[in-house]
């Protein structure tokens, strides 16, 4: 058990120093190093965007945009230690822009609104058959329900903490808020989620 914890800590330190080195090289213009960084962070950034858009196609496109933007601006990154938060910040802003564009288009009837987009998408429907599909649909429906009661900031903090697994400090850096503000929003969000989940019957009710 102790050996495992040591291994995990060592791996984490190695991972951090490796990321640090890649970021330094990418800042110096090393494209190969940036591609390696993308390999390391793409899955989690993709998931993060998917949680918010619920569309695999949109998530793919926005993820590409996020990394392209990151490469263009990486020279402006002050410290390699905050690379992950910085990347999440770009992603959060890109998702916001995406919804802004959608809302603008919906004004002229070119696209569905945010709320409509939150419904089940074709990508979600292309899930494995049977029980898993039902479970998936049920899960996202309930996530939508519990996050629906939260304010925008509470929802962002809640998702960054429990879905994207960011620390309070990282969330603060991502949203440019101080840690106590993040904690306040998270605390309020947890209270609201508990209330919203109490009347549910499904996967999340069992969890929460």
């Amino acid at each position: 058990m102790v050996a495992n914890a040591d291994d995990s800590g060592k791996r984490s330190r190695d991972d951090a120093s490796w990321t640090h080195e890649l970021v330094e090289r990418a800042r110096a213009g090393d494209r190969l190093a940036f591609n390696q960084l993308a390999d390391r962070f793409q899955p989690e950034i993709f998931r993060m965007i998917f949680y918010r858009t619920r569309s695999q196609m949109d998530a793919e496109d926005l993820c590409q945009d996020v990394f392209l933007k990151a490469f263009k601006n990486i020279r402006g990154l002050k410290s390699p230690a905050v690379f992950r938060s910085w990347l999440y910040r770009i992603a959060v802003n890109r998702v916001k822009d995406h919804y802004r564009q959608k809302q603008f288009k919906s004004l002229f009837g070119f696209a569905s609104t945010d709320e409509e987009a939150f419904q089940e998408t074709p990508e979600m429907a292309v899930a494995p058959q049977g029980e898993i599909q039902v479970e998936r649909k049920d899960f996202w429906r309930q996530v939508r329900k519990i996050t629906g009661v939260l304010s925008r900031m509470e929802r962002e903090v809640f998702m960054l903490r429990f879905f994207d697994d960011l620390s309070i400090k990282e969330i603060g850096a991502t949203l440019k808020k101080n840690e106590s503000t993040v904690k306040t929003h998270l605390y309020r969000a947890l209270n609201k989620v508990k209330e919203a989940a109490s009347g549910m019957d499904g996967v999340l009710e069992a969890l929460l």
């Binding site: 494209r31 940036f34 591609n35 993308a38 390999d39 793409q42 899955p43 993709f46 998931r47 998917f50 949680y51 695999q56 998530a59 793919e60 993820c63 590409q64 990394f67 392209l68 490469f71 990508e123 479970e135 998936r136 899960f139 996202w140 996530v143 429990f162 879905f163 994207d164 697994d165 309070i168 904690k183 998270l186 605390y187 947890l190 209270n191 508990k194 996967v203 999340l204 969890l207 929460l208």
Partner: protein
């Protein structure tokens, strides 16, 4: 045990442990450190939210492609062609703004046949008016007018009266003397 052992953590306290255990009050923290039941509840609550995150992760699709930066291409013939086009376009613009455009504004605009005819008629009328102004007096008077240039000091008053009869004389001719 002491009193703090009997008062267990409330649900709000448990949520606080989830946000940041360091934010708990000293007494509550001390209780949590020594109460296995509350520790268990706090662990259980944290595990639920962790499981929710893990479930979201397992139910999200995987990205279908890997990100790669677009290849950097050295400047080639295509780039040279583009720059030549840009230089040519810039030259055309300079020519347009410095040479052709001022002339365009200075040059008289094209006139239609009707307008040209009207202008010509106006010019002819102006010429006739000029002639009339030049020869404003009848022929008899014209000669005298021509004599303005000669010395007329020796002309007698009679001659002048003959040319321009006085008002009294004219009145005498027209009205009978009574």
């Amino acid at each position: 045990m002491n009193q703090s052992q009997d008062i267990h953590l409330t649900y709000d306290d448990l949520l606080c442990t989830l946000v940041d255990p360091n934010d708990l009050g000293v007494e509550v923290r001390a209780h949590l450190d020594s109460c296995p039941r509350c520790q268990n509840q706090a662990r259980h609550l944290a595990r639920r939210y962790t499981q929710m995150g893990q479930m979201a992760k397992s139910l999200a699709p995987a990205s279908s492609g890997t990100f790669r930066l677009p290849e950097q291409r050295p400047f080639g013939p295509r780039w040279q062609f583009k720059s030549a086009m840009a230089v040519g376009l810039a030259g055309l613009l300079v020519f347009f703004f410095t040479v052709w455009w001022p002339r365009f504004f200075d040059a008289p605009g094209p006139t239609s046949p009707d307008v040209a005819q009207s202008i010509e008629a106006d010019q002819q009328l102006m010429a006739q008016i000029d002639e009339l102004v030049m020869d404003a007096l009848p022929d008899g008077y014209q000669e005298l007018a021509m004599m303005n240039d000669t010395d007329i000091t020796d002309l007698s008053e009679d001659l002048i009266d003959w040319i321009v009869p006085s008002i009294d004389e004219t009145a005498g001719e027209s009205e009978p003397i009574g």
